[in-house]
């Protein structure tokens, strides 16, 4: 169950990162004065410490957010001389966020979130059935 719970956390941070990418799809001034760079979540599997694990039996493997990295892809350049951030040639560097791509990422994170919720429901069912044995 803790494996599925860790997946819920990881998928939620994927959704949050995708949302912040979309929110900043037009931000030409980031924290360092540069246009915003697309962020990406790096997932890594993470063994859950459990009783089974300590007994040397098959332990569950959860997942964790190993890192959040910035996409180093070049910025898109848009011709807009009236923009305050335009360079000498009249081009503005726009963030390297591809909005449809972020939507797809968000959808797949949502699906994974739902799948893990279903898994938790099934495990919960199992536990409550085991409790019924004592009745």
């Amino acid at each position: 169950m803790s494996a599925s719970a860790s997946a819920l956390t990881a998928e939620r941070s994927r959704i949050e990162v995708a949302v912040s990418n979309m929110a900043n799809a037009e931000s030409t001034r980031g924290v360092n004065g540069q246009p915003y760079r697309r962020r990406d979540v790096v997932l890594a599997s993470n063994p859950v410490e459990s009783f089974d694990d300590a007994m040397g039996r098959t332990g569950a493997v959860g997942v964790k957010v190993a890192d959040i990295v910035e996409d180093r892809a070049p910025f898109a350049r848009r011709y807009d001389p009236a923009h305050p951030d335009a360079d000498a040639e009249g081009f503005v560097s726009m963030p390297n966020v591809d909005v449809p791509g972020q939507m797809v990422d968000m959808l797949s994170a949502t699906r994974a979130y739902q799948a893990n919720l279903t898994a938790i429901g099934l495990i919960k069912d199992l536990i409550s059935r085991a409790m019924e044995l004592g009745k």
Partner: protein
């Protein structure tokens, strides 16, 4: 006579089925959790092979009549292995959502079946304890 009610070998077999179902459930949940982890390989737990290794040889109870159960050793520990024959995606991950959900549902069904049978057994014992009341 009390063999019929407490039927130890059947009870322990049902108990094992519960353990196996939980182990399968936990492996499928791990696979689901790592649905998007790069280079993660789908894991499978197989008890059938462990059982086959145990069945032909191994310690058995003496049988004096046909139909007697020989009993089985303790819970076979499941073998964790990488599942084969699954399409790998570009990020090196081969977890398939529907396959894992199917496995989870199947394990939940196995668990429910064993649990129902076990609680029927327990009910029988309780019935005897309560003098058929």
């Amino acid at each position: 006579m009390n063999d019929i009610i407490t039927d130890r070998s059947i009870m322990s077999a049902l108990g094992r089925q519960l353990t196996v179902a939980v182990a399968k459930q936990s492996v499928a949940a791990s696979n689901l959790a790592n649905l998007d982890t790069p280079n993660y390989r789908t894991r499978d737990v197989s008890f059938d092979e462990a059982l086959n290794q145990v069945l032909p040889g191994g310690e058995k109870l003496a049988v004096t009549q046909r139909g007697h159960l020989t009993g089985q050793p303790a819970v076979p520990s499941g073998e964790l292995e990488d599942a084969e024959g699954l399409a790998t995606r570009r990020d090196g991950n081969n977890v398939q959502l529907d396959r894992e959900l199917l496995h989870m549902t199947r394990a939940a069904g196995d668990f429910t079946a064993a649990q129902t049978a076990l609680s029927a057994k327990f009910r029988l014992v309780r019935y005897a304890i309560n003098e058929s009341k």
